[in-house]
């Protein structure tokens, strides 16, 4: 393996995040004063700079060029840069939503921002991963940061419970991931993703590939909170500070899917899948179907908005897994549809959790659906923003969520001989179910009277996120063409 300094140019987005992250951890040591808004602004600046760097590099990349970096540990390509830009932007939005929540709930800890950026650097590594080893490294870098962020609100018991659960389950999943990688390596003799695609097709140890594929399915199932590996998610989402929940639901999940695109789409995709019933796709389609259904049906019964959104994010993971299955089974537009879904889903999630932060305050966090009664009359703009985001979650046009779902299901229909038709039917029926609980919030906001005036948490960062996300979600739904061209 040779090191060529010129290759670092391709990694500027990653370097910006990592270096800013380390600087921020240092800065906290010298920081005076309670309010950490300045650190949050720095974090956002670093994230957006990284995103801009990704977009610039994306534009310089020719067509569908793949540039292997650092001895094919990483790769610079279109989807990698689009995703790393997305992760950076999501991180920036999370950083902007955080200081107000920290101030209101007394957990003003500056390391939080450094850890957030380091975690984001792990995500960018995942977006560019070209080697199973980097996949592992990326997932760990990302996850460890998020475990810490979950536990930051030290005085909150639920926060501690959330962090502990998340950490233990995460560590458990890491075991599966490692073992899966080891078995695949045993079968293929390499961990390079691009080579695995051809090598595994001719392996003399198909048993290892099958077992390794299954283990990877389990490991990623934990990471994206797919049923039946989702048990940690509702507690962790509910217990973690709201901005962290948004970060977990949007960026962490998106990064895990990005890794799945690489691992299942390239390394284990193509000729490797047709081990017939034994390919990784068979458990994954079942998991996808169960995930969508269980996530949705459980969400119907939730009264806590954070838990409801947690279960909704589980069902969204199910839809994403449908896309991954389609990708593995050779649907041509699957990658594009997945990335588009991640973009729409990330903005929707960040916006929704920012509004949850906004509506609550020190005295009353207002996490129950009933607590939102009358928001439409008292704060019409915020209620409208939330409505747009909820419609996007529910997949109703003209929002990004609708087009994302449309595109993923369309990709699933492209699979040879309509094999995934049943999955699409399950998916759309679940969309109808999901409308019910999303509209419960809309119903509370508009159709009922407030029992007590709202005292929202005001901060310019939160307001920025609340304004930008719904607009982007609408733009994504009305003019998806530009984004599709960007993605591929």
């Amino acid at each position: 393996m040779s090191f060529n300094p010129a290759e670092l140019g391709y990694l500027v987005p990653y370097l910006i995040l990592a270096v800013t992250g380390m600087l921020l951890v240092l800065a906290e040591a010298f920081y005076h004063g309670e309010d950490r808004t300045a650190l949050a602004s720095l974090t956002a600046a670093g994230s957006f700079a990284s995103a801009i760097a990704s977009v610039v590099l994306l534009r310089q990349l020719e067509g569908n060029a793949r540039v292997p970096l650092l001895g094919e540990m990483l790769v610079a390509d279109r989807s990698g840069y689009v995703l790393s830009a997305l992760f950076a932007v999501t991180t920036g939005l999370a950083a902007l939503s955080s200081p107000a929540h920290q101030r209101e709930h007394d957990w003003q800890i500056g390391e939080y921002y450094g850890v957030m950026l380091l975690s984001a650097s792990g995500m960018v590594m995942l977006a560019h991963a070209a080697n199973l080893v980097t996949v592992f490294l990326g997932i760990e870098t990302m996850s460890i940061g998020v475990y810490v962020m979950c536990a930051m609100r030290r005085r909150s018991r639920r926060g501690n419970e959330a962090a502990m659960k998340y950490f233990l389950i995460g560590a458990f999943a890491t075991g599966f991931l490692m073992y899966g990688i080891a078995l695949i390596y045993g079968a293929g003799g390499t961990t390079k993703i691009a080579q695995l695609a051809t090598v595994l097709g001719q392996t003399r140890n198909p048993g290892l590939v099958v077992a390794g594929g299954f283990l990877l399915v389990v490991a990623f199932g934990f990471k994206v909170a797919a049923v039946p590996f989702h048990m940690w998610a509702p507690d962790a989402y509910e217990g973690a500070p709201t901005p962290v929940t948004g970060f977990m639901a949007a960026a962490v999940k998106a990064a895990a899917i990005a890794a799945m695109i690489r691992v299942f789409g390239t390394a284990l995709g193509g000729d490797v899948v047709p081990f017939g019933m034994l390919g990784w796709a068979s458990p994954l389609v079942v998991i996808a179907a169960i995930t969508i259904t269980v996530g949705n049906i459980t969400a119907v019964r939730q009264d806590n908005i954070k838990r409801m959104l947690a279960y909704s994010s589980i069902s969204h993971a199910g839809v994403l897994l449908v896309g991954v299955c389609a990708l593995g089974l050779g649907a041509p537009s699957a990658t594009t549809s997945l990335i588009y879904y991640l973009i729409a889903y990330s903005f929707t999630t960040m916006g929704a959790f920012a509004i949850v932060s906004y509506v609550g305050s020190r005295n009353r966090e207002r996490l129950l659906v009933d607590d939102w009664a009358g928001l439409g009359a008292q704060h019409p703009a915020v209620a409208l923003a939330m409505t747009i985001l909820l419609l996007s979650f529910g997949g109703i046009p003209p929002t990004g969520g609708f087009f994302a779902k449309f595109y993923v299901f369309k990709a699933a229909m492209e699979v040879y001989d309509g094999q995934l038709l049943w999955l699409v039917v399950i998916g759309v029926i679940n969309s109808a179910i999901s409308i019910y609980y999303y509209l419960r919030i809309v119903t509370a906001m508009y159709f009922r009277e407030a029992n007590q005036p709202f005292a929202p948490t005001r901060s310019s960062g939160l307001l920025f996120v609340i304004t930008v996300c719904p607009l982007l979600v609408l733009e994504l739904g009305i003019m998806p063409g530009w984004w599709l061209k960007l993605v591929g």
């Binding site: 537009s333 594009t336 439409g376 009359a377 019409p380 419609l391 109703i396 046009p397 003209p398 609708f402 087009f403 449309f406 595109y407 299901f409 369309k410 229909m413 492209e414 309509g418 038709l421 699409v424 039917v425 759309v428 029926i429 969309s431 109808a432 409308i435 019910y436 509209l439 809309v442 119903t443 508009y446 159709f447 998806p480 063409g481 599709l484 061209k485």
Partner: protein
């Protein structure tokens, strides 16, 4: 395709309400008069813009006109493509006409959140117009869903006591149907993509693809579910009475006046042309359900004590006629169905507006609470009587023409159907549907009698002010429209005719293409490998007979219907058909001579 000046009319019509909605949302919350004024101004501007369609519309042409086409989502092949033909042009005008009238009549009945109310109505208008004029499957679906949310908010925010239940029921019912339609859209899209070589959702290009037989049956079922819920066809109608009763007057008017039409329109524009074999398989089921709906709706309407519920069930009955006429697949039936939709839009819209007027004054909708209103509100009562008569199908008013033509179309269906399309017991279904006309007259007049005649024995009814100027301004255009539609059906039917004939001709042609695996329809087997020239010609002949319907073969058709057992009305049609060249004239003549008695 080159876009001419005329082609920009429809995008303008689509843009005006949404621009208005944004504009209204930007004004201060307390300026309610401004909101009402702006809402009215933008809907009237939309109406004027939509009248431009008539300026550029060529009534002799059968295909889509005023087509505006631009690429929307390049990766998907989705186009922003709008256009109208004889089937949709009047529905667009109906929508743009009803909107300002509704807003005008609503006036001060809506007190809370006027800004949001106006914006919701304007967004709803864009959604409805978009769904009527889109010629792209993806675009249609987007607008179809866009309609849903404003209506949900209208019911939920400004509705009555049980509005939460009604609004959610409305959304879930509609969503379930439309999402299964979405699956079918995926299927069509992917299949057509592989046949055509490029992905597209352009309706006209999708129509060039013949899907496999089984796929057509399933896809039609998925589309039909969405449309049948919207129509609403028995037994999928249960959301309608709830939604109507709980919705504010404006919501009810738009729901009945426009939204329900999307069911029938969807069948005509999408489900039947794209899946003719599917339509052939499901036609008997749907026609029988339509007839059940006609009679059931009428009986249940008769049993209601709530005026709004009564009118809601009358919609179930009236829309049954439309569905029946479409699936009879005769030019009479289809023209009549469209005509009945227009009439239903005006009359039922008027009925709901009238109920709104009463409700504002008395705050009740119970029939038992009224009586003797005529003495207090003579002007209103007179206008309302005309609307009721129009709805009941009194000759010389709008309702009669549509119902007469659909029943006639159903009667003669057996003679003109293309091979492979089976319409069960046309005479029986036509006769049963005709009883619906009688029942309709009974419950509507009974309702009118309960409210307006009798003794003025309730103290609260003692001092009711008659219509004010604003309300008069809403009712007069409606009543004029109901008269004009009843007396001069010909200009409208002439415009519809080419499009309707093209529809039946294309439908028959695509049915005889006989694609897919061998299969049988009733007694006839369809096997692509043994298709003989004679068979094709035979089929095309049958199609031609069906297609030329309204203008040329009227005498024959009327005769056939007469033989079927129709008495006064069909005789009248046959008689005038011998002299008049056009079927519209025949209907016109019939309108003057008498109504059909089964």
């Amino acid at each position: 395709m080159l876009n001419t000046i005329g082609s920009f009319v429809l995008p303008l019509v689509l843009a005006l309400p949404i621009v208005g909605a944004i504009f209204v949302m930007c004004t201060p919350k307390t300026e309610t008069t401004l909101h009402r004024g702006l809402g009215l101004a933008f809907t009237i501007a939309t109406l004027l813009a939509s009248l431009l369609t008539l300026r550029y519309f060529n009534p002799r042409e059968a295909g889509f006109q005023l087509v505006f086409d631009t690429e929307w989502i390049p990766g998907l092949g989705a186009h922003f493509k709008t256009g109208v033909d004889g089937i949709s042009v009047f529905l667009v005008l109906l929508t743009t006409l009803l909107m300002p009238l509704t807003l005008l009549c609503t006036g001060r009945a809506i007190e809370k959140h006027v800004r949001e109310f106006t914006a919701a109505m304007l967004v709803l208008e864009t959604g409805m117009l978009g769904a009527f004029v889109s010629l792209d499957l993806f675009m249609f679906y987007v607008f179809w869903e866009v309609m849903l949310i404003p209506m949900y908010l209208l019911i939920g925010i400004w509705g009555g006591q049980r509005r939460l239940y009604a609004s959610i029921k409305f959304v879930i019912y509609t969503m379930v149907g439309s999402l299964l339609m979405l699956v079918a859209i995926f299927y069509v899209y992917v299949q057509a993509g592989s046949v055509l070589g490029t992905s597209t959702t352009d309706l006209e290009r999708l129509l060039t693809v013949a899907l496999p037989y089984n796929a057509q049956v399933w896809c039609f079922a998925a589309f039909a579910l969405a449309f049948a819920i919207k129509v609403p066809l028995f037994p999928l109608h249960t959301w309608l009475p709830d939604a109507h009763v709980e919705a504010p007057t404006a919501g009810s008017v738009i729901l009945a006046g426009v939204l329900l039409k999307f069911g029938i329109y969807g069948f005509l524009r999408y489900a039947m042309p794209m899946f003719p074999h599917g339509a052939a398989v499901w036609a008997p089921t749907i026609s029988i359900l339509a007839v059940i709906g006609i009679i059931y709706g009428a009986f249940v309407a008769f049993a209601q004590d709530d005026v709004k519920k009564l009118v809601a069930y009358s919609s179930v009955s009236h829309l049954g006629f439309c569905a029946l006429g479409v699936f009879a697949l005769t030019s009479y039936g289809i023209s009549g169905s469209i005509y009945a939709m227009l009439s239903h839009g005006l009359t039922t819209g008027g009925l709901f507006l009238g109920i709104g007027v009463l409700y504002e004054r008395r705050h009740t909708r119970r029939l038992a609470e009224y009586g003797g209103i005529w003495k207090q509100m003579p002007v209103f009562s007179g206008l309302f009587l005309i609307i009721v008569m129009g709805s009941a199908g009194l000759p010389a008013l709008s309702g009669f023409v549509g119902e007469f033509l659909t029943i006639l179309g159903t009667f003669i269906a057996g003679d003109t159907l293309p091979a492979g399309y089976d319409f069960p017991m046309p005479r029986l279904l036509g006769a049963l549907a005709a009883t619906g006309v009688v029942l309709g007259a009974i419950y509507l007049l009974w309702m009118f009698q309960k409210v307006f005649f009798g003794k003025l024995d309730k103290a609260k009814n003692g001092k009711l002010p008659d219509l004010n100027g604003r309300e008069l301004a809403t009712f007069i255009p409606l009543v004029i429209g109901i008269f004009l539609l009843g007396v001069f059906p010909r200009p409208l039917l002439v415009v519809m005719e080419p499009a309707v004939q093209k529809f039946t001709r294309d439908f028959g042609r695509r049915l005889t293409e006989c694609d897919g695996p061998p299969h049988t329809y009733g007694t006839r087997s369809c096997d692509p490998s043994v298709k003989t020239q004679a068979e094709i010609e035979n089929n095309l002949d049958a199609v031609a007979r069906g297609a030329t319907g309204v203008s040329r073969t009227l005498g024959r058709a009327g005769g056939a219907a007469g033989a079927a057992g129709g008495t006064g009305a069909t005789g009248a049609a046959g008689g005038t058909g011998a002299t008049g060249e056009n079927g519209a004239a025949a209907a016109n003549g019939a309108a003057g001579t008498g109504r059909p008695t089964p």
